[in-house]
């Protein structure tokens, strides 16, 4: 700060920022790559003045001051330009001369990121590194009487059912009488959760689609991906790859004009239709695509004018009551595809999830219920929604599963769990734990971005600028200068890599439990936790 500058309430020093850029003058080559790559312009080239006192030996000459300048980096302290810790500067620096360091103490920035009366919005996650799922252990290890299985050599059926499964008597009767039965898809239990075309860059979307297609067609893994609310590229709608896609409809109905018009031209039915009522990261809030991400391509797919912000309402306009809204929408969507496609709602985890579920149990066309927990991610939301709104997924899924057991409908309405699965990298473990708590499958988003495309977001408020369209990795940007950094082929390779690794890890979990012939949905006797309250709440064993 210059001595003449005024000190205002929002005048911050570098120490007040959560991320501080460390720069080494000796190794810096002054190439300028760091300042040009920084997505938030947190650093700038600067001329630094330096004073050196030169003291000669002896008493004859007096010490004198020498003034010189040197060139280097300066971190900006304006709250609008605060470093986000993405470390792209480090990535591009030829000499590793620069890196952001996190300040562990509370930062003053959090009191000043509401300039102009605008509450902080961002993308990302809740930024809470703790995870209850990570604490769960698999404790029922098969020994002696029921020998553990060989994860490498036994056959494993790691598939799940998406769709309404009738009670056996009813289903068999329908078969014998050639009657209608709800559509059921046998799919892989790890689904790529809803991330829209628009929220994600075209390269990211293409990479994911290629990865999914490869897994299906070359690896024989029936992996599915949900579009999110942003429509679907017209060519994909008319291709045979549509069967790997779950189309999402949400309260903005973006892209559905295009989808409905494409129905007569579809070669394949989509895997399913997901009706989004809520999202774990921002429960009770609609989707939001900021105007700077709505370019011509996005606008045409979504059926909107370019350059306008696209906030979806928090709720569907048809919604009057659960009965009406859910039943109507499920019915309409089912009808659009001749009752051949499973249709299910997605809600944010809430204490009222069970009411929704119980309603669905009575609706013969409801194909499942997706529940998204508080640890889910988003491309854009208010900081307060992300940090403080929502319900943890574990107890919500467990309660819902217990309700289904009470009614004898477990696995007849599949529960799809989402939100924070693999948030600390333990993807297979978290997924297996949720399956054993009662989920039929899990949905992941953030993990896909982190593992599939190198998203630098973490649980300590790093980066989190998905909403700005300046994603340093090109994952959530619509600017070709940025997203061309992301090679779709490489994304596809990474998607295949992490799916195959997940598959191996899942076997490595199930084999010692003696499970291989079906997915162990609800196998709660295998779970333990060193937390008495959590054990009681989840109905699993307390182990120390």
């Amino acid at each position: 700060m210059q001595p003449t500058a005024g000190i205002t309430p929002s005048t911050l020093s570098v120490k007040d920022l959560p991320w501080q850029v460390e720069w080494n003058k000796d190794t810096c080559t002054l190439c300028g790559r760091c300042t040009s790559v920084c997505p938030v312009n947190a650093i700038e080239l600067a001329v630094h003045r330096k004073r050196v006192v030169e003291t000669a030996t002896g008493l004859m000459q007096k010490p004198k001051n020498t003034y010189s300048v040197f060139h280097g980096i300066r971190q900006r302290t304006d709250a609008a330009y605060a470093c986000i810790g993405c470390a792209m500067c480090t990535m591009v620096c030829p000499n590793n001369a620069i890196r952001p360091m996190r300040l562990d103490e509370g930062t003053a920035l959090r009191f000043h990121n509401n300039r102009g009366g605008h509450a902080r919005t961002r993308g990302g996650r809740r930024n809470a590194p703790d995870s209850l799922l990570d604490q769960i252990k698999f404790i029922r290890i098969s020994m002696l009487t029921d020998p553990a299985l060989d994860a490498g050599r036994h056959e494993f059926e790691l598939r799940t059912l998406l769709g309404r499964v009738l009670p056996p008597e009813q289903g068999l009767k329908a078969f014998q009488e050639n009657g209608w039965v709800p559509a059921v898809r046998e799919i892989y239990p790890l689904v790529i959760g809803s991330m829209s075309f628009g929220a994600l860059s075209p390269n990211m979307w293409e990479g994911l689609q290629m990865g999914v297609a490869y897994l299906n067609e070359e690896m024989g893994m029936p992996v599915r991906m949900c579009t999110g609310e942003g429509g679907c590229p017209p060519r994909l709608l008319r291709s045979r790859f549509l069967k790997y896609v779950i189309l999402q409809i949400a309260s903005g109905y973006f892209g559905w004009d295009e989808i409905l018009h494409a129905i007569p031209h579809m070669k394949e039915d989509p895997c399913a239709i997901e009706i989004k009522y809520g999202q774990g990261a921002k429960p009770g809030d609609g989707g939001l695509l900021m105007w700077h991400k709505v370019n011509k391509l996005i606008a045409s797919i979504r059926g909107v004018p370019p350059g306008v912000s696209l906030p979806s309402p928090p709720t569907h306009q048809t919604q009057y009551s659960i009965e009406e809204s859910v039943a109507k929408m499920i019915q309409s969507m089912s009808m659009a595809w001749g009752f051949r496609v499973p249709v299910y709602p997605k809600i944010s985890a809430t204490t009222t999830s069970r009411a929704v579920l119980n309603n669905l149990v009575r609706n013969p066309y409801a194909a499942g219920l997706a529940i998204d927990g508080e640890d889910g991610g988003t491309g854009a939301a208010y900081n307060v929604s992300m940090n403080h709104m929502g319900h943890p997924i574990a107890s919500n899924i467990r309660d819902c599963y217990h309700d289904l057991v009470q009614q004898g409908c477990q696995n007849e309405i599949p529960l799809i769990a989402g939100g924070g699965i693999g948030k600390n990298g333990n993807l297979a473990h978290n997924a297996a734990a949720l399956i054993m708590l009662g989920a039929s499958m899990v949905q992941v988003g953030k993990y896909v971005m982190q593992a599939g495309a190198g998203c630098v977001g973490s649980e300590i408020d790093r980066c989190n600028i998905c909403n700005l369209g300046r994603c340093p990795k090109g994952i959530t940007s619509q600017d070709p200068r940025v997203y061309r950094r992301l090679d779709p082929e490489k994304v596809a390779e990474r998607v295949v890599d992490f799916y195959l690794a997940f598959d191996t890890e899942l076997r490595k979990i199930f084999a010692p439990l003696g499970r291989s012939t079906s997915l162990p949905v609800g196998m709660s006797d295998a779970l333990g936790i060193a937390n008495k309250d959590a054990a009681n709440r989840l109905g699993i064993q307390y182990v120390v």
Binding site: R140, S142, T145, D146, P147, L149, H154, E155, E157, L161, V165, L166, P167, P168, E169, G171, L172, F175, Q176, V181, V184, E186, V405, Q406, Q407, G408, C409, Q410, N411, L513, G514, R515, S516, T517, S518, P520, V521, G522, M523, S524, D525
Partner: protein, 375 residues
């Protein structure tokens, strides 16, 4: 692990034949208990095959309570086998009366549809069991026409001799016998195989790692009698019951319920559409072995199936008139030494082996074969 032995014969046989066969397999079980299912009985029980027989163990007080309960329901005792012993062998607790009593049903039963009679038999058994558990004075294992069940803790041979099971009125045409190793459950007679419900009886060797979800599923079926589950093997009996009564499927379909074919195996199967549907509908009842299941159906058909991984031993063999299903070959040798051993068969992961009550041959049905035509 448990050892199993089952025998089906055209002529009544002493239960001790099966217990002796179990005894030669003793290396494979620790002798912590024995369970017996006897049907196709000879002697007085055969005079009125339609009279339900109550099998259980009762204290003196329990027996009086039982008389009161049955009298209130209108059942009149017809014939009883009461075994009262005072000096049990080491490891066997002293109990009251081991009872098998046939009852003449109430007059109202004459005009009752069979389904209702069945329901009342099950309800009566479950009620006696529940009341007995409260007062610890009654244990009821079965209440069904032509069926006697005996369960006790201790070495099978010692218990068999102690109870004097060689008596002629317990000779039976179909016998299931299990020597139990107590593993992860406390010694509780209700945890002892075989398990019985409405004419369906099975016993299992091994652990069912999918027990908890299956138990939850069966318990929520609203079927009276789907209770208990002191042992993870009881679900096999109830799944067979479900397959037989609720789905109306034949014995060959049981394996398609508990261990369905993989998609690759199903491709090209004559019943592909039906089996694919069954796999989806009955996914909740897919077991995860290692398990060898031996059982008997209401019509007297006796069967053996293995889990998908075939991790347990099991062999079937015999001669026309008498066939046996055994965990080990030595058990079979002990019971039917004069059979053609070249015809012995060890069912593998796709097979169902069964013998019809006429006892003329062993039928092997692979899951890859077409199912018998349903009428």
């Amino acid at each position: 692990m448990c050892r199993l032995f089952a025998l089906t014969s055209t002529d009544p046989v002493s239960p001790m034949v099966a217990i002796n066969a179990l005894n030669v397999m003793k290396e494979g079980h620790d002798g912590s208990g024995v369970g017996l299912y006897l049907s196709g009985l000879s002697g007085p029980f055969a005079e009125h095959p339609e009279y339900p027989i109550l099998s259980g163990i009762f204290t003196e007080k329990g027996l009086k309570r039982l008389d009161g309960i049955m009298d209130d329901l209108g059942f009149r005792p017809f014939h009883s086998v009461s075994i009262i012993k005072s000096a049990p062998p080491a490891g066997t607790p002293r109990r009251g009366v081991y009872l098998a009593r046939a009852y003449e049903p109430p007059k109202a039963w004459a005009d009752m549809p069979e389904a209702e009679r069945t329901a009342q038999r099950v309800q009566t058994r479950v009620a006696i069991r529940q009341q007995g558990e409260a007062e610890r004075d009654m244990m009821a294992f079965s209440f069904w026409p032509g069926v006697v069940m005996i369960k006790e803790v201790g070495d099978p041979l010692t218990v068999g001799e102690y109870l004097g099971l060689d008596r002629p009125d317990l000779h039976a045409r179909r016998i299931l016998c299990q020597g139990r190793q107590n593993t992860n459950y406390a010694i509780n007679l209700y945890a002892c195989h075989p398990f019985f419900i409405e004419g369906v009886c099975t016993m299992t060797n091994g652990e069912n790692t999918a027990f908890i979800p299956i138990r939850e599923y069966l318990s929520s079926r609203n079927v009276p009698g789907y209770t208990g589950y002191q042992s993870d093997s009881e679900v096999f009996t109830h799944i067979m019951h479900f397959t037989h009564y609720k789905l109306g499927l034949p014995v060959e379909a049981y394996k398609h319920v508990i261990t369905p074919l993989s998609d690759a195996e199903m491709a090209g199967h004559p019943d592909q559409a039906m089996l694919a549907r069954l796999k989806v509908l009955c996914r909740k009842m897919i077991i995860d072995g290692p398990n060898c299941v031996i059982g008997c159906l209401p019509d007297g058909t006796m069967f053996m199936v293995q889990d998908r991984k075939k991790l347990r031993p099991g062999v079937v063999g015999g001669k026309p008139g008498m066939y046996a299903f055994s965990s080990e070959l030595c058990g079979l040798d002990a019971a039917i030494p004069d059979r053609d051993k070249t015809l012995d068969f060890q069912p593998m992961h796709l097979d169902t082996a069964y013998v019809r009550p006429e006892c003329q041959e062993v039928t092997i049905c692979s899951q890859l074969q077409a199912l018998p035509r349903q009428r």
